[in-house]
Amino acid sequence: MTNATDTGAHGGVTPGRYYGHGLPYVSIEDYPGRIIAIEGTDGVGRSTQIRLLREWLEVRGYGVIETGWTRSPLMQPTIELAKASNTLNKLTFVLLYACDFADRLEKEIIPALKAGFIVLADRYIYTALARAGVRGVDSQWMRRLYGFAIAPHLVFYLRIDAEALARRVLEAGGMAYWESGMDMKSGDDIYDSFRTYQRQLLKEYAAMAEEFGFRVLDGRKSIANIQDELRRHVGEFLEGAEGASLPRG
């Protein structure tokens, strides 16, 4: 775990800069906004934490926008349709998500950074990297593909074990086809498939933790407990040298 005052060169890249070749036609230097990403597998409680964190930030006078995986107006209908009709292979899957991310990056994230907002990202490119990794897509190719993404200033990873996660997902209403990795055809039993798939995902996330400077939080703790941790990290970051330039409303 990285300590909270560390500016964290994620993936060897300065936060707020492009990971790779970027968008050569959009210069993002010196944009005042900040990106805070919350990662973690399905059902770990990301959205709840983001809602609470947003509330806290807004009370403190920061402008906040949220962006969530597959929520771009351009791609959402296509992704829903493709998932429902089951015609995707791993590459088209990966590319549809990349397109969704690119649309949100250019239409939501970059304008918000320019205007000095804090962007709370419910999942970021690591979700794509983890899912593609499990499905055997070339990892170097994936990292180049997402070279147009901007390195967040903070990445939190809510870690949980597959068994605790299974119980939580079941309590929340049950296991769904995609989050159980049923497309990977590892078997007909959804519980076994879920556990196998989520274990593989957790392994992918663990491997990325160091590479991308994740701040790891224990996702088995209570909602309040996790939120306290998040606020402590974010608070220290915003009050430190890196966050100081951020305008407050």
């Binding site: 968008l23 351009l74 296509t78 590319l95 549809l96 397109c99 990056l105 170097q140 147009f148």
Partner: protein, 223 residues
């Protein structure tokens, strides 16, 4: 790293692609080539750039609202390509057929870079593409292609004319500016990826004779 575009494929079929700007005549040439191949007893499968059902809705939404950025434009086309490669290119190649592709990854290399996408990034992106057995580029000056398009009373399309770049509000002028950048990119691609060049200002019959020669050569070399 994933880079099948750099190495010959091992499928029993053959993949021939045509490239060129709008109005170069490549589609006409490909149709004539198909006639000849079918008449010669080959089984032929045709596939066209940006034609998969998967991305149709998104492309339509994006184009209607002029909402595509150079990056989403590029990624949507790559998604289309990946989908067609899965359903329309690899299966016929495995079945030993001849696949004729109207535009290929090189179109993305030329257009996306003309729009400002990183040159190296888009080449990495298409690293999953099957390497064609033959890629032919129909080279034509912009004035000739414009004359052909306008003579057919084709209304220049928004993205094809590069109107999304806001270089000119006049469609013809924008087409000229945008496609001249595309032509420059194609020239670099020809050298880089070994595309064979046909002078597209010559007569249709002349070009077709040349194309058939190239294809014959490729069929024999690979037999």
């Amino acid at each position: 790293m994933l880079d099948t575009l750099a190495a010959p494929h091992a499928y029993p079929g053959r993949l021939f692609v045509v490239e060129g700007i709008d109005g170069s005549g490549k589609t006409t040439q490909l149709a004539l080539l198909a006639k000849w191949l079918v008449a010669s007893g080959y089984r032929v499968f045709m596939t066209e750039w940006n034609s998969s059902a998967l991305v149709k809705a998104a492309t339509k939404t994006g184009k209607k609202k002029n909402a595509l950025t150079p990056m989403t434009f590029s990624l949507l086309h790559a998604t289309d390509f990946a989908d067609r490669q899965l359903y329309k290119i690899i299966p016929p190649l495995k079945a030993g057929m001849i696949v004729l592709a109207d535009r290929y990854a090189y179109t993305a290399f030329a257009r996306d870079v003309a729009r400002g996408v990183d040159r190296e990034w888009v080449r990495d992106l298409y690293g999953f593409a099957v390497r064609p057995d033959l890629a032919v580029y129909f080279r034509v000056p912009i004035d000739v292609s414009l004359d052909r398009l306008l003579a057919r009373r084709v209304k220049l399309k928004f993205y094809e004319a590069g109107l999304d770049m806001n270089w000119s509000t006049n469609a013809t002028e924008s087409f000229r500016l945008f496609q001249s950048k595309v032509l420059d990119e194609y020239d670099a691609i020809v050298a880089e990826h070994g595309l064979r060049v046909i002078d597209a200002t010559r007569s249709i019959t002349e070009q077709q004779r040349q194309l058939r020669e190239l294809v014959s050569g490729a069929l024999e070399a690979n037999a």
